[in-house]
Symmetry: C2
Subunit: 334 residues, 2 copies
């Protein structure tokens, strides 16, 4: 038996699961075994990994015996039902859902930002929300240098965040638009083709969506900054797989555009793409399929003191989900 880890992917047939498989292969994660798990309706499916065909197994409490690392990407309900069984079987769970993110004792980690938090785990490490990860990849290095006081943001979120069926819905509905009979929405609350929807996830009593509140709460936890004031409007846009966020932030210390660029250019996992005179700035199409996030449109904010405005894009399935989860696993394996 070769050295390495027994890894299970829960939600192997989904958009994030597919990307995890590719990343495990590309990044040569040391594997001893690989279990692909999904709900009973995926049983019978076979997925390819390094040329081998691996059958998809049904998830159950018993299936985690011998697993070292379980990567959960099948939604909060599945995580709530099975993560503890995996932990009880001796696995460390890296959970991509919102189920445990805000629980005390569960580290919530972006490896470029708070890798040390991983060591405090009690069996579960949570992967943050995609919009939060991508936003913080640009906000955190600025926070570390200039201390952020408040942040006001608006997102432009790709359909991939709602899963493989959502990607199909954008494609099919757009085609149907041209055939003259617009397909009805199924995954999204309203038409997504040639539209934007100011709703991602469900609404809370206070008028915010869960997605918007996640951004505020998770940002505070990841950056260890409990007094951060944060508000965001989260919007779904007809883009396939990369998120963009317009961020306006106020800092405790004065900050110039040059200083900000210097700090951002040095941050691992982030690329500075900022030459507006030559029409150079990040876009979701350009960042799709890339591991790094991109930041640009950096300018002095005209409404905030010590303020900066900037624009960050990142692949939602990669850094927003699968890549970040695997990076956590890579820290764990050390």
């Amino acid at each position: 038996m070769s050295a390495g880890f027994n890894v299970a992917i829960v939600g192997a047939t989904g958009a994030v699961g597919a990307e995890l498989l590719q990343l495990l292969e590309q990044r040569e994660f040391p594997l001893r075994g690989l279990k692909l798990l999904a709900s009973p309706k995926s049983v019978g499916k076979v997925l390819k990994f390094k040329g081998e065909e691996i059958p998809v197994e049904t998830i159950s409490s018993e299936v985690f015996r011998g697993v070292d690392i379980a990567l959960f990407s099948a939604g909060a309900a599945t995580s709530r039902e099975f993560a503890q069984s995996a932990v009880n079987s001796g696995a460390i769970v890296i959970d991509n859902s919102s189920a445990f993110r805000m629980e005390p004792g569960v580290p919530l980690v972006v490896p470029e930002i708070n890798p040390r938090d991983i060591q405090t785990h009690k069996g579960i490490v949570a992967n943050p929300n995609c919009t939060t990860i991508i936003s913080l990849m640009a906000l955190y290095p600025l926070h570390r240098a200039f201390r952020v006081r408040r942040v006001i943001a608006a997102s432009y979120q790709a359909v991939s965040g709602a899963g493989a069926k959502a990607i199909q819905e954008l494609s099919d509905q757009t085609k149907s638009f041209f055939s003259g009979e617009l397909a009805a929405p199924v995954v999204f609350p309203q038409t997504i083709a040639f539209n934007v929807l100011p709703q991602v996830d469900v609404f809370l009593e206070n008028g915010y969506t869960k997605e918007e509140i996640k951004f505020a709460n998770e940002s505070r936890k990841i950056m260890h900054h409990p007094t951060l004031r944060a508000s965001i409007t989260c919007v779904r846009v007809p883009v396939f797989r990369a998120h963009s966020i317009a961020i306006h932030a106020e800092f405790e210390q004065p900050v110039s555009v040059k200083q900000a660029r210097d700090v951002l250019a040095k941050f691992q996992g982030l690329e500075l793409v900022d030459d507006p005179g030559s029409r150079v700035y990040p876009t979701p199409v350009q960042v799709a399929g890339k591991n790094n996030c991109q930041v640009g449109r950096i300018r002095v904010d005209l409404a905030l003191d010590n303020g900066l405005a900037f624009w960050v894009c990142g692949d939602q399935i990669l850094k927003g989900a699968a890549l970040n989860a695997l990076q956590i696993a890579e820290v764990l394996k050390k």
Copy 2:
């Protein structure tokens, strides 16, 4: 000769020109004559108005003799070249371009907000930028009641703002995406199909686009509020003809969601569409073709003192351009 006005439309063959023709018909603007003007390349075209066919004439300095009201919608260069000739011929110019908006002595008007400014004109009345008009339709009534101190916004702008060719580009490029050979961008700086572009208009030295600076400057002028602090990120999205803006605003006076709703519900030209529990909020598809703007997603802003966050949508060609211009003409005719 019947009572009414001699009206000229400059840019009659464009997206806004077409809408102006329809609105003149629908709103029964009292016409004595109608001149359709465009650049030499449109000569020979014939447009329909009330069942009659009207030939398009080439614009020139001499063509405005006898015209009472000239509606300019052919870009800033055309306005700079010909607006003064129209005024010299005795016409009042309602200019939809950015050419004269910030000139002292030129009123910049949203009729629901500052109709009295029209009376101060010296021959030219300017129609504001579309994103500014639609944003202020929701921000101004709140400002009047609670006095806005600063505003931070992000826009989701339809392609119609870049004209009829831009609408065609989104359509053609999207179709080409499915045929496997993506059409190259011509009107837009980069691909607009399934993408978002953080660039509307050209960049200035300070890193903002002209569109973004227009929002700040024009908002101050229209609301007579020279100390307003405003910053916005303007983004083009693959939507055909209505703009959306996520607005986060800080007020001098405390304001509750209920108070805000009461004020917004009463403002002429604005509809309150705000029942998140039932997934009711404005979207650009839903507001397209409507005269009224729509506001929703009203909630307490979590990052600003006395803050509110909200979401406003409006038809870019109607209230963002043609309708607002015609409303100015309707005030003038009184």
